[in-house]
């Protein structure tokens, strides 16, 4: 790790350390969606989705595109795919019991 990357890493991972944002990313991996569509898919309030999308946009984990009054968001495949692959690999190799490191719930 290059020196001085710690603050960027912190922002980066803090962004991802939230179940709503992760669920949103998961949805957007399938297909681009609007805020309202995401809210419906995740069973959450519109304002909550909007609040949570904001940091994802700011750090370019997702990209937004205006379509009239809708805002359609798509995932940054390059980064997010790599991250999820890394998590899957880690879970497979280093969390043998699957839920071992999840005691106490998510």
């Amino acid at each position: 790790m290059k020196k001085g990357l710690t603050p960027i890493c912190h922002r980066f991972f803090t962004n991802l350390s939230n179940p709503t944002r992760l669920a949103a990313l998961e949805q957007l991996m399938n297909k681009p969606m609007s805020v309202t569509e995401l809210a419906k898919a995740l069973g959450q309030e519109q304002s909550m989705i909007s609040h949570n999308l904001k940091p994802l946009i700011e750090c370019n984990f997702i990209f937004g595109q205006k379509q009239g009054k809708r805002h359609v968001y798509s995932v940054n495949q390059e980064t997010v795919n790599m991250l999820f692959k890394t998590v899957e690999n880690h879970a497979a190799k280093f969390c043998p019991s699957g839920g071992k490191c999840l005691k106490g719930g998510n």
Copy 2:
């Protein structure tokens, strides 16, 4: 992303969303160290390092080895290297201004 990975991702990234833990990982990338050595290197209290190392150990981001009364910790290179590479790549490509996504401090 496989379905149902969200809770694991959450734990995974929450673990990394802390400057003390990131700084500890950064140190351990150079060489394995004991708790006291880390505390000295990072200018932090021993108990704080110990508290922060715990979740890293539980999720196997680092591995511990007893050497007498010292506990020497080494980093899980496979996972942590991949993560830091991903952050570097993302920062290079998607944070062109360097600190753009850091306004407001770390």
